[in-house]
Symmetry: C2
Subunit: 232 residues, 2 copies
DNA sequence: TTCATGCTTCGATGGTAGCCGAAGCATTGT
DNA sequence: ACAATGCTTCGGCTACCATCGAAGCATGAA
């Protein structure tokens, strides 16, 4: 009775936007925890859990228990290859991701990722830092330059000793779910977000549990002055 | 705002069982008409039309008008390659197509494809004919051998002159939707089905519009005696 | 023209699956 | 032992989409 490979089964796994976001977030080869993947996809942990068990059953991802975390990675390069192929087909027809994950535009623009800024503005900030040589990035690792330290001290009153932490890195690249571009995590990312709040540039949304970050009118201007890309 | 290729969009196209069946039916490179694809997928023409327009919008298939038919083919080898990749992933996880297209098991076992027998039994019959050298198959073309003619005359009272037709070939391979294996079409396929009905081995289901073919108890035995594969 | 065939569009229906709230395990830290 | 964190399971809700009937266009045949 078995006929051929059930290509619809595996294709439908990739066909769901939330799962597709998780998979593309895993395309860099690194393993991510279930809750990180939930953040990337913009869904709650329980929904992500359901998706991940389906992906696991379909053989697309593999779990790895570590303490109370569950790390997931793509099973192998074959999976990555097929995903690349699908991306190629999608790219040439001009179908780009416009509205992946959360529907809320505010959530896509600026939100909290753990304790740092994510969303369009988060990506834009790291882009700006990188372009002006304030940080140097190599894959996942980000390093603060001397100019970067001066910049932070001058404009935001952030000194290097505020950033040292026994276990946590100062800078770290964190994949933004809205695409495969990074935003800034680590103690610096957290310190920046905290400073934005202190300066009343931005504040987390009042509704409990919301990850949206609302920028004030002046905060948006100041932010654009420091990290703007000219087009906005 | 555009981010990356929308892999979920194209994957969800392949993710629907009906569309996946159409695509696999097109994997041999030949172009098929819309109604043929509907038959392969086990759906009505209007549903197939909807699916095909989506596949076309997604750039997976290309239409070609010819008379009052619309032939569809895969856009290029890239599409076929991705489909192969998906099939590979599905195959190694052991997920095979068990219940593609129509839910009705009877429809999968034996049904009418135009005027000839399709379904598991149709595929099985052609397999048997080929294995016993009663026909010779090369790709899409099937040829009746001398032994084949004797076999038909002796067991089913079908003579070669009954099969000649000005435009229609005697034998023709027709892809069975349940997988990429062929069943027998052409005037011989039609003559066989007609003979099965005359001998009261099988009859089309009474409910109007149904394509199910019901075999009688004795008919099933006789059929198995002529075309059985030993395992059934 | 008139009819038949192949395909498409429209409208309505139903089944499926994604989603989240609440609660339940498991593991780690204090 | 107790609390906190990470993840899972369960139940209900909602939205989407595949499906088909009926009708509307085309094209080709008589």
């Amino acid at each position: 009775m078995k006929s051929g490979p059930d290509i619809a089964m595996v294709a439908s796994l990739v066909g769901d936007p939330a799962r597709a976001n998780m998979l593309t977030a895993l395309m860099n080869g690194r393993a991510l925890t279930a809750s990180e993947l939930a953040q990337e996809a913009g869904i709650t942990p329980q929904t992500a859990s359901s998706h991940l068990s389906k992906l696991e059953a379909g053989g697309l991802v593999e779990p790895e228990k570590q303490g109370r975390h569950r790390y997931y990675r793509l099973t192998d390069d074959d999976v990555a290859g097929v995903l690349e192929g699908l991306a190629g087909l999608a790219a040439r027809t001009g179908h780009m991701r416009v509205r992946t994950g959360p529907k809320d535009p505010a959530l896509r623009r600026a939100r909290i990722c753990y304790d740092h800024l994510a969303g369009d503005l988060g990506v834009q900030m790291l882009d700006s830092l990188r372009q002006r040589q304030l940080v140097r990035q190599r894959k996942q690792d980000i390093e603060l330059t001397a100019e970067g330290e001066r910049f932070l001290a001058k404009h935001l009153q952030i000194s290097p000793d505020m950033l040292s932490h026994p276990r946590r890195p100062v800078c770290k690249a964190c994949l933004d779910w809205s695409e495969r571009r990074h935003h800034l995590a680590g103690t610096l990312g957290a310190a920046l977000m905290q400073r934005f709040a202190e300066l009343k540039w931005a504040a987390r949304d009042a509704t409990p549990g919301s990850r949206v970050v609302n920028f004030t009118r002046t905060g948006e201007k100041q932010f654009a002055a420091l990290f703007g890309s000219g087009q906005d």
